[in-house]
């Protein structure tokens, strides 16, 4: 049997793991679908049952549900990432998970792809479809068309703070945050979500302190920093930092995973 990475075995492994995880994944995604439907319905109960316009109150009927859905999506994504390697720490499932004849790289890639890419992508698709459905039912502009309009505006007006580069830099930064939770999922043996949140908080203390000191002592420099961050140079720096930290967290996760032992 080949000891290095094999795509064929990776496929077999992914199929087996998905078959085992089917129920918990469907519960998570199904729960999110129900949440999305209910939250849009709750904020538009008056419009649905008594009539009226959805744009009343500055579009609160679709702005707030989008905010709640985004928050729920963020929570599920990060919570799910924290459980990426849960089975390897489980007393009942650890042995069989480690002893399954697949390469460590295949097991790691599966956990990373599922929790960093697949689950967030499916959640985004669910949120977008739900928004499109309610937009169609209640007659407001769905999030895709709103974002498309905003995107074309930001691309055309290159001098505006929101350039395409700035957007990509921020997406990569978000991804590095997700990779941090993936690393936390394997670095901590228990309470992965809470401990990663705590680690995140501790690591961001210097930034908080710096920002507070600079704002209180020299507000001009803080404003200068913020405008620099939205400039092209700043965006490149954010992008580079995001890529660096994504790779760093992934490397830490991999190193830890490849030397993990069952001590319980």
């Amino acid at each position: 049997m080949k000891d290095t990475f094999s795509w064929k075995r990776f496929g077999l492994f992914a199929r087996a793991e998905l078959a085992g995880e089917r129920r918990s994944l469907l519960l998570k995604l199904g729960g999110f679908v129900v949440f999305c439907m209910v939250i849009y319905m709750l904020w538009n109960i008056k419009v649905i049952f008594a009539g009226g316009t959805v744009d009343a109150g500055g579009g609160v009927g679709y702005v707030l549900p989008r905010l709640f859905v985004a928050m729920a999506m963020g929570f599920i994504v990060y919570f799910n990432l924290s459980g990426s390697f849960k089975r390897y720490f489980s007393k009942g499932r650890g042995s069989s998970a480690f002893m399954l004849p697949a390469a460590k790289s295949e097991k790691f890639l599966y956990a990373s792809l599922l929790n960093l890419i697949a689950v967030p992508a499916v959640l985004i698709v669910i949120a977008l479809l739900n928004d499109a459905l309610w937009a169609k039912l209640l007659g407001f502009d769905n999030i895709c068309s709103v974002m498309g309009e905003w995107w074309s505006r930001s691309i055309v007006r290159i001098n505006e703070p929101m350039t395409g580069l700035f957007l990509i830099a921020n997406i990569v930064s978000t991804f590095s945050g997700m990779a941090f939770f993936l690393a936390g999922a394997v670095v901590f043996r228990r309470h992965q979500f809470l401990l990663t949140l705590l680690a995140n908080f501790v690591l961001s203390i210097p930034v908080f302190v710096y920002m507070q000191v600079s704002v209180t002592t020299n507000p001009e420099s803080a404003i200068h920093l913020l405008s620099w961050m939205s400039s092209d140079t700043g965006s490149w720096v954010i992008l580079g930092t995001g890529v660096f930290f994504t790779l760093l967290w992934m490397y830490i996760a991999w190193r830890r995973f490849s030397t993990l032992q069952i001590t319980r």
Binding site: G20, R23, S96, M99
Partner: protein
């Protein structure tokens, strides 16, 4: 086949094994005996690469377990004492996981499930612990790995199931396959194993075949003042273990052997390391 050379290992609390040496041969059924907390499970985990030694070398099937290479993992099956199975039935489980083992036999699995009286269509989460254990034992055997490691496999099995387990293990044993069964219930291994490893006080007290043991020791009924390595009073009189100077054969009593090894460490070590 399995070699431990000067292996040291310990958890955070302290050192469990220090300079441990062990050599297990291919094609035998080993009974790994030891008291609670003696380190049986740790020893099995070191063999499987689930734990890494602090010092020394471990070689299993000419590979280094800690690397956890697929080629190694496909030759070893570990049946842990505690386990969870996914919400599937055995057919779904075999289709999902059987493909990872080159010699996995679906037909053999069906026969073993029948022998152990476990319904194949029932979902694992609807089974009792004993049924789940028997199902997992059947799958472990059907994978036909050259090394099968079982940690307390008879825990949770009822009396008929323990007999079925012994029968099944005896039927699949062959020269290409090594089976290691760890237990503290020594009676469960009677008439099953052909080699015994006794682990106590973080060291290997005894590693010998049953033939060597019965060649060197006698398990006999003793008179009141007969000398013995170990003796105990039962309702059938005084029974014990003596050095076999006469060359007479006696049936191996695992419980007496274990108690003798623990109670008279130096004598047993000297006798078998001669």
């Amino acid at each position: 086949m399995i070699t431990f050379k000067h292996v040291s290992f310990g958890y955070r609390g302290g050192r469990l094994f220090d300079d441990l040496n062990l050599d297990l041969k291919r094609g035998a059924i080993y009974g790994l005996l030891g008291k609670n907390g003696a380190g049986k499970t740790t020893l099995l985990k070191l063999m499987a690469g689930l734990l890494f030694p602090k010092k020394g070398e471990i070689s299993v099937l000419n590979r280094i377990p800690r690397k956890r290479e697929p080629g190694f993992l496909s030759q070893v099956f570990v049946l842990p004492e505690e386990f969870d199975l996914p919400r599937m039935n055995m057919d779904e489980y075999a289709r999902a996981y059987g493909g990872f083992y080159p010699d996995f036999s679906r037909e053999q699995l069906t026969n073993l499930m029948r022998e152990l009286e476990v319904p194949e269509v029932q979902k694992f989460h609807q089974m009792s612990f004993g049924q789940k254990k028997k199902a997992y034992i059947a799958f472990a055997i059907a994978c036909n790995t050259p090394l099968l490691i079982m940690d307390e496999p008879t825990n949770g099995l009822d009396i008929p199931s323990k007999s079925s387990f012994r029968r099944v293990i005896a039927s699949v044993a062959n020269e290409e396959r090594t089976i290691i069964v760890s237990t503290h219930q020594v009676r469960d291994l009677d008439q099953l194993i052909d080699s015994v490893v006794v682990l106590d006080g973080s060291e290997i007290l005894l590693n010998a075949t049953t033939a060597e043991i019965t060649d060197k020791l006698q398990f006999v009924h003793l008179e009141e003042n007969d000398p013995a390595l170990y003796a105990e009073q039962t309702i059938h009189g005084r029974w014990g273990v003596q050095v076999n100077d006469s060359g007479a054969e006696s049936p191996l009593d695992m419980e007496l052997l274990f108690n003798a090894a623990v109670a008279n460490r130096q004598a047993i070590k000297q006798l078998f390391n001669r």
